[in-house]
């Protein structure tokens, strides 16, 4: 199985919990013989490298340096994510089983890649705009929420890390329960649970 993980933070660039989580997950995936790529942002450490843990990482910078908000920053960074992912896709003989996108930042890229090249994606929810900015419904917040919605709509499957989050996704975005998979990082079967979601999302293709 060949997988690309999209995350806006990854060591050495650590913003919140996602960097450590995706680092852990990608290391474990490699151990399970999954060919694991990861696309992330870094202001200057750009290009494709293979880390000691066996994960192949493409870091991209934002071609537009001046911004008026996180929305414009994200929406100009996504094309570089697409470029990096497309390069992986074409170099791998046009065969990527699934993209796993963490939070809303790179949902636009995952959506375009799905529609253009038919690569299915899993939307993995770490947090939601409704919880980060409770009660906020300004056009700015709605812009972010509309991208979260797009992720739920276009994703082949959704993963959450708690039952509470599963209920919140259902409550806020009216996502069908069957589309959401619980993957508990504390569980012994965590990586296998994730792989099960990947296999399901990619239509059962590419057994690990």
């Amino acid at each position: 199985m060949r997988v690309i993980i999209f995350t806006w933070e990854y060591p050495p660039r650590i913003v919140g919990q996602l960097a450590e989580y995706t680092s852990n997950l990608s290391t474990q995936l490699v151990k399970k013989n999954v060919e694991t790529y990861l696309v992330t942002y870094h202001p200057y450490l750009t290009g494709l490298t293979e880390e000691p843990n066996g994960v192949k990482i493409a870091r991209v910078a934002n071609p537009v340096r001046t911004h008026i908000g996180v929305l414009t920053w994200v929406l100009t960074l996504n094309q570089e994510v697409e470029r990096a992912a497309a390069n992986i896709y074409y170099q791998a003989g046009k065969q990527i089983d699934v993209i796993d996108v963490y939070d809303w930042h790179f949902v636009p890229a995952a959506t375009t890649l799905k529609n253009a090249l038919g690569i299915p994606f899993v939307y993995s929810v770490d947090s939601l705009e409704d919880h980060r900015s409770p009660g906020a419904s300004s056009p700015f917040n709605m812009g972010i929420k509309s991208i979260e919605w797009l992720g739920f709509y276009e994703a082949a499957a959704v993963t959450v890390k708690s039952e509470w989050m599963r209920d919140e996704v259902i409550r806020i975005y009216k996502v069908p329960k069957e589309k959401i998979q619980l993957v508990l990082p504390s569980s012994k079967t965590w990586v296998d649970d994730v792989l099960k979601v990947y296999a399901q999302a990619s239509g059962g293709a590419g057994k690990p």
Partner: protein, 403 residues
């Protein structure tokens, strides 16, 4: 037989959605390309009442969700709209039996969609730069303007070729983004003469004219947004000098943030009976008015191309234009029109007066201008030039590792 070329246009405006000059440009270019056997797919923003999908004179038109939630500001809306456009265009392009050979973006307003599509499909991207942020704003003053200028730079960086519609814009874009010469190519804007022929043939222009000017008044026409760079204030300041020599009515068509300011100046000059602000005008009336004008004035301070001068020439109205940007290239002084100094009231008054006082001169300008339009600015010719650029790019592309 040669394989049919397939192009996907990305544009934020396409009729009936008309905001500026890109909309008619893309309409005529796509129709003319289609007539010449090129398959053209136009992906554009939706518009109330317009169908999501239609075939227009051989052009495949797709209108996509333009992001209708309230947006924090215009620039952020543009990027959000691009997200939808890119997603929809990707779905359209992936389902086409005949694959898209070239993506062609019009201005930064579709930059991110164009760049993304280029990379996921690995096809060449071309861009027509109709204008630049640094030109529109006469410099970069805010973060928003800088962000847009950097987006424009990125778009021209990603494009295989950058098309500009005048030599002025070629050198401006080259300077603004530091582009190499061989990346830039000039293809002028065009004008559809047939439209004006039909107006002249069919309509009662004399009767129509009476709604705007008295029979003894010459009709001086300004068409453009009432914003600083279009220079309507220069024309208004020249009016007293013109009226000393010739009886005329000044008709100002268009709207913009300077409208109140301009009508206040006219009132303070005591010239309300000589100046008519019509506001935005429907296309059919505008065509007739352009055919009625004794002189069409384009006093712009900044003008990448100056399509309104071409339209006047096609309408057989003599033109007086300021010698700036692309305008200066369209008009040959004393041959196809009169050129005056930019932002110079005296010079503008001189030019307009000269044209209005001499009927023979007016007729000569009219005929020369019309001939020039036929030779250089027909859409058919422009479509052929554009197709040649596509073929050149595809020739280079075929030798690249993307092919």
């Amino acid at each position: 037989m040669k394989r049919q070329l397939s192009v996907m246009f990305l544009t934020w405006e396409f009729p009936p959605r008309v905001i500026g000059g890109i909309s008619p440009h893309v309409l005529y270019l796509s129709k003319s390309l289609a007539k010449n056997g090129v398959k053209v797919h136009v992906v554009t923003c939706d518009f109330p009442g317009a169908p999501d999908r239609e075939t227009l004179d051989g052009v495949e038109v797709y209108r996509v969700d333009s992001y209708k939630n309230p947006a924090p500001d215009f620039a952020t809306w543009v990027y959000l709209m691009n997200l939808n456009m890119q997603k929809e265009a990707a779905a359209i392009a992936s389902k086409l039996e005949q694959k898209v050979d070239v993506f062609h973006a019009h201005d930064w307003l579709v930059a991110t969609a164009g760049i993304g599509l280029k990379h996921v499909f690995r096809k060449p991207l071309l861009v027509t730069m109709h204008s630049t942020e640094i030109g529109r704003r006469d410099g970069i003053h805010t973060s928003t303007e800088r962000m847009i200028a950097e987006t424009e730079a990125w778009l021209t960086y990603e494009a295989w070729k950058v098309i500009c519609c005048s030599q002025y814009m070629v050198s401006h874009v080259k300077w603004a983004f530091g582009l190499p010469d061989d990346k830039l190519v000039m293809v002028p804007n065009g004008v559809d003469q047939q439209v004006y022929e039909n107006v002249r043939k069919q309509d009662d222009l004399k009767g129509f004219r009476t709604a705007f000017a008295l029979p003894e008044e010459k009709l001086v026409l300004f068409v453009g947004r009432l914003v600083y760079e279009k220079g309507a204030h220069v024309l208004i300041n020249a009016i007293p000098k013109i009226l000393e020599k010739v009886n005329a009515k000044f008709v100002i068509v268009g709207s913009g943030y300077m409208k109140d300011q301009l009508s206040n100046i006219v009132r303070s000059m005591g010239l309300e009976h000589k100046v008519l602000f019509t506001g935005f005008m429907d296309e059919a009336s505008l065509l007739k008015l352009q055919c009625c004008a004794d002189v069409s004035v384009v006093p712009s301070l900044f003008e990448p191309f100056g399509i309104v001068a071409l339209e006047a020439m096609a309408a057989k109205s003599p033109v007086v234009v300021s010698d700036t940007g692309g305008l200066g290239e369209i008009v040959e002084h004393d041959v196809t029109g009169v050129k005056v100094y930019s932002n110079n009231v005296e010079s503008l008054a001189w030019g307009i007066t000269k044209v209005l006082l001499d009927e023979k001169y007016r007729n000569t300008l009219r005929e020369n201008a019309y001939r020039r339009i036929q030779e250089r600015y027909s859409w058919d010719r422009i479509a052929q030039q554009t197709e040649k650029i596509y073929e050149g790019v595809l020739g280079e592309y075929s030798k690249s590792f993307w092919a």
